[in-house]
């Protein structure tokens, strides 16, 4: 029963974070950047369920905005990377020749750079830009999809089932739909879950070294680095973004462990 329980736990954790966002939007709806300097580091109260930070900003509002930022970023990056990587991987394995050589060359160059360095490089071009970070993280993530799809398609391309469909006159779309995608899907989904986790971690890391989104934007890594000087005065405030990143990553990894099990049989 263990493998069925863990992905469920992952979904519960993710749902808990989303309900935090929902509670904030429905019942409080404060501006995450609104400063009230006479109310610094208030303890949790019915008015501020998670207390306030060093500028008297509502922690719940900030955390909610940060979770939305992280999830939006990971969703966009994973979708882009999955589409780009799968498409390129299929093209490389199907047409081989110069298509494969060009794409594999680009991938090798990308892989020679540590992922975070690439993101830093992009982020430094236009500091604080959400779009730049999105492009950079997607560019790092699609490598995995490409490699997975390319090697799986290469071995399937000359498999009897694909060859038979070609002999019967079926086109590429049919072969993709009937033969390739059903075999690739379990791997792609678990890769998407891991990818979402690494996108969140990349965004937080970039924020933590002050290259990512700029204040007063609420972002998990940025919140950590801003709150770091106050760790002895208000450790419970610093703990909030830390714990959130931890729970987000954990939940995606737990879900990933279930995807293979359920769909991959």
């Amino acid at each position: 029963m263990m493998p069925r329980l863990l992905p469920l736990l992952g979904l519960v954790l993710l749902a808990a974070l989303l309900s935090l966002v929902a509670i904030d939007l429905l019942y409080f709806g404060r501006d995450p950047a609104l400063q009230q300097l006479q109310q610094v580091f208030l303890h949790p109260s019915p008015d501020h369920p998670l207390g306030t930070d060093q500028f008297g900003r509502c922690n719940l509002a900030r955390l909610s905005a940060a979770i939305q930022n992280s999830l939006l970023m990971s969703l966009l990056c994973v979708a882009t990377a999955a589409l780009l990587g799968t498409g390129a991987g299929l093209a490389a394995a199907w047409y081989q020749g110069w298509v494969d050589r060009c794409l594999s060359f680009i991938i090798n160059v990308l892989m020679a750079l540590p992922g975070l360095v690439l993101v830093l490089l992009f982020a430094a071009l236009i500091p604080g830009s959400f779009v730049m970070l999105y492009l950079a993280i997607s560019a790092v993530l699609w490598v995995e999809y490409f490699r997975l799809v390319r090697s799986a398609t290469l071995s399937l391309r000359h498999a009897p089932e694909v060859e038979a469909s070609m002999l019967y006159g079926f086109g590429k779309g049919y072969i993709l739909r009937r033969h390739l995608l059903p075999k690739l899907l379990p791997d792609l989904l678990s890769l998407a879950c891991f990818g979402a986790a690494s996108a969140i971690l990349a965004l937080a890391s970039i924020g933590f070294v002050y290259v990512g989104l700029k204040p007063p934007e609420a972002e998990l890594g940025l919140m950590m680095v801003e709150l770091l000087p106050y760790y002895s005065d208000a450790p419970w405030v610093l703990a909030q973004p830390l714990l959130t990143v931890f729970v987000l990553i954990l939940s995606f990894n737990l879900i990933a462990s279930g995807v293979r099990h359920d769909i991959g049989r």
Binding site: E161, E163, A164, L167, Y168, Y174
Partner: protein, 459 residues
Amino acid sequence: MTLAVEVTQLSIYADEQCLVDRLSLQIRLGQPVTILGETGSGKSLLAHAIAGILPSGLRQEGHVTLFGRSQDALSQSELEAMWGKALAVLPQEPWLALNPIRAIDGQISEVGECVLQEPSTHSQGNAQRQLDRLGLGEDGNKIPAWLSGGMAQRAAYAAATYAGAPLLIADEPSKGLDEARRDQIGALLVQHAQCHALLTITHDIELARQIGGEIIVMRQGQILERGDAEQILNQPRSDYAKALIAAHPSQWPQATKHRQTTPVLSANALSHRRGGRLLFNQLDIQLHQGEIVGLSGDSGSGKSTLADILLGLLSPDSGKIANPLPRGQALKLYQDPPAAFAQHVSMGALLQDLIRLHKLDANQIPALMNQLNLAPALLQRPARAISGGELQRFALLRALLMKPRFLVADEPTSRLDPITAAQITQLLVKYAREHDAALLFISHERTALERICDRIISL
């Protein structure tokens, strides 16, 4: 004569299903026993039960006595100590059981070092003597991929018998071998049986005839008949044994040769290399309507490559096909039926895809299914839930829908049991004759080709 194994009232169950039903047998030194039966009839499980390696989840009743010691009284480590020294198993398709990246002499001498704790110099000398005796003296330094199927089979035999086990269990030893190689391994087993105990599990009646001794005919876990090899093979009493013997290619009726008429496909001066080796050079092939052409040759001799070139799946290095057929008119039946179908949808959905693509008449399916003896309920199932024989008939059904003019059958029956294999072959022959299609039949069974083909091309 010394009793090597005594099996008393052995039954094997998976959940409630009975896989082997109250089987008793005795194997003595010098008196081989052969179990003859269809694939999936629980024959291999019996070998596992005797060796004490029955998969967990299966339940065993009855008694197995090995060299006078009851298997129940032996601990796991005592049982393991007997493996290699007292009993050895020659696995199915031994080229898969050998380590693919290690030279065979090392794999054989390793048995001496690990099982008998011999010094390595001693076991290397022994391994070389074994290889010399089996005619592999020059090939000890080769990895399995460089050996032919028969050579790999002999190497596996050397490794299995190195430790001198008096009891050898051979599980389908002739699977995937052509007749000459089957005779070689048969001769080895006969030699072994002269002074040792031998249990052979097979559905190959020629191998059973060669080994002789006692034959037990089994089907669905039941013993249908047992007795002396000569008697069973010459005067079988059970229907199944009769069918099995009748299904052997040597019993097939000789086909009347077909008059060559209109050409369907002609290829001129085909040459092709693979991995630097010339597979065929300046080969001219012409296939005619209703003609059945056999293609034989060793594995790796380019039979499938030639078929792929004729189908237009592969371009030859030189030469060309004079009149390539349009897509859907040149089709192929595959060796491994489950591998030839998409895995995630039902057979019905796959046939619908084909009907929609080529605007075929869906009403002909029930009649064809009836003709091929396929139950309508099978349409709801995906390929992996259908047996190999039924699936190969589905492959034929799929081909018949298209009314192809050229059909390649690439070892279409080598993974099927003999009775199903004979049925599929007859269906293919019937189709080719009735619909004036050219049939290229690839097989390593020379006898089968000689019976059904108008002519045979050897590569």
